[in-house]
């Protein structure tokens, strides 16, 4: 299993953390993650992809999960939530806490449900190293306070463990 990217959105709909594992995309641009609207050009090296700033990435992903979440709630009731969706290129996993923090992870299509993994990231990494860090602000405009070393290091370790079929990569 390969993890492509990981995003955290706060309750103000702002992307407060994002991380991409570029080298998880082994040289082939065709397997790169891209917004669903562009999946038709999957086989071409994607110049559009390069021009898409990673900031826009986060916005697109937020828009997607926000709309999906609302649709799921309309159809399935207030307590319903979607867990993941899959395209021919990637699988998007979603976990939202009752405090409206949204965790999104993009993996390859063969991945199992990552709901539990995302919850573990929230409980053991986000709460431990971001929320309980007394010197980090309670809100994280622009990601302030989230990108601390302990959080990043633990996230990396965790993702590598999840990526157990992949040989650990020093740059990951």
């Amino acid at each position: 299993m390969v993890v492509f990217a990981f995003y955290v959105f706060d309750r103000h709909a702002e992307c407060i953390y994002k991380k991409r594992w570029q080298d998880a995309l082994p040289g082939a641009p065709a397997t790169s993650l891209r917004p669903p609207s562009q999946s038709t050009v999957a086989n071409a090296p994607a110049p559009a992809r390069q021009s898409l700033k990673s900031d826009d990435d986060a916005k697109l992903i937020f828009g997607t999960v926000y709309s999906l979440r609302n649709m799921v709630r309309k159809l399935g009731g207030e307590d319903d939530s979607f867990l993941s969706y899959r395209t021919s290129q990637y699988k998007l996993h979603y976990y939202e806490t009752p405090t409206n923090i949204k965790f999104v992870m993009l993996t390859d299509v063969k991945a199992n449900s990552m709901r539990h993994a995302l919850q573990q990231i929230y409980v053991n990494i986000y709460v431990e190293y971001v929320v309980k860090n007394a010197l980090s602000p309670a809100e994280h405009p622009g990601g302030i306070g989230v990108d601390n070393e302990l959080f990043e290091a633990s996230l990396d370790v965790f993702v590598e463990r999840v990526l157990n079929t992949q040989p650990p990569d020093p740059r990951a």
Partner: protein, 191 residues
């Protein structure tokens, strides 16, 4: 019974997931904070109450994440469940007390928490200056904690103490009122 279930959940979590600290350490630390605030504001107890509430709020907005991480609770279905959860799980795991939920208004938007015991107020006697007894809400930090924590789960509430054993009342009672549910925030429009 839902009530019994949350009692059990609270007990289990208290036994298994919570790191304990010496209660007297908490009591004395909190007492010192209040005493220092009284000194800083030259015994202007209205200000002290406000400041305690504010400190509690700042604690609450973080504490809720710890609460959710420890309990893995889903969202409560209604405000009565919320009250039950606050008393039997929230207060249980953080202070090892379970205040009684009572005095509901007919519209289920307002209730009271009756504290049979209050670890913050052990050993405490209010200053004998003739005003503290009428003006200081010693445990006011708890009101702020609730406001901060519930705001993070989309409930805007108001909480205040209406009586305190420290003031010579028969009970320690906090009144909690649901003001409104907070709507999801939308992302800012793209330009």
């Amino acid at each position: 019974m839902a009530a019994n279930k949350s009692t059990r959940q609270g007990e289990d979590l208290w036994k298994t997931r919570v790191e304990k600290v010496n209660a007297e350490l908490v009591t004395l630390t909190y007492g010192t904070i209040v005493a220092q605030l009284c000194a800083d504001y030259e015994n202007d107890y209205t200000q002290v109450n406000q400041q305690l509430e504010k400190m509690g709020y700042n604690i609450g907005v973080r504490l809720i994440e710890d609460f959710l991480a420890k309990t893995s609770m889903a969202r409560c279905g209604n405000f009565r469940d919320t009250a039950d959860m606050i008393s039997k799980v929230g207060f249980k795991i953080f202070l090892n007390v379970t205040p009684t939920v009572t005095n509901w208004t007919a519209d289920s938007k307002s209730f009271s928490l009756l504290f049979d015991e209050n670890p913050l107020a052990d050993f405490v006697e209010l200053p004998d200056d003739g005003r503290a007894q009428d003006e200081l809400w010693f445990s006011n930090i708890l009101c702020g904690v609730l406001r901060g924590a519930l705001e993070m789960v989309q409930m805007s509430i108001e909480a205040h103490f209406v009586s305190d054993i420290l003031r010579g009342n028969d009970t320690t009672e906090m009144r909690v009122t649901l003001l409104r549910m907070i709507e999801d925030e939308m992302p800012p429009e793209d330009d």
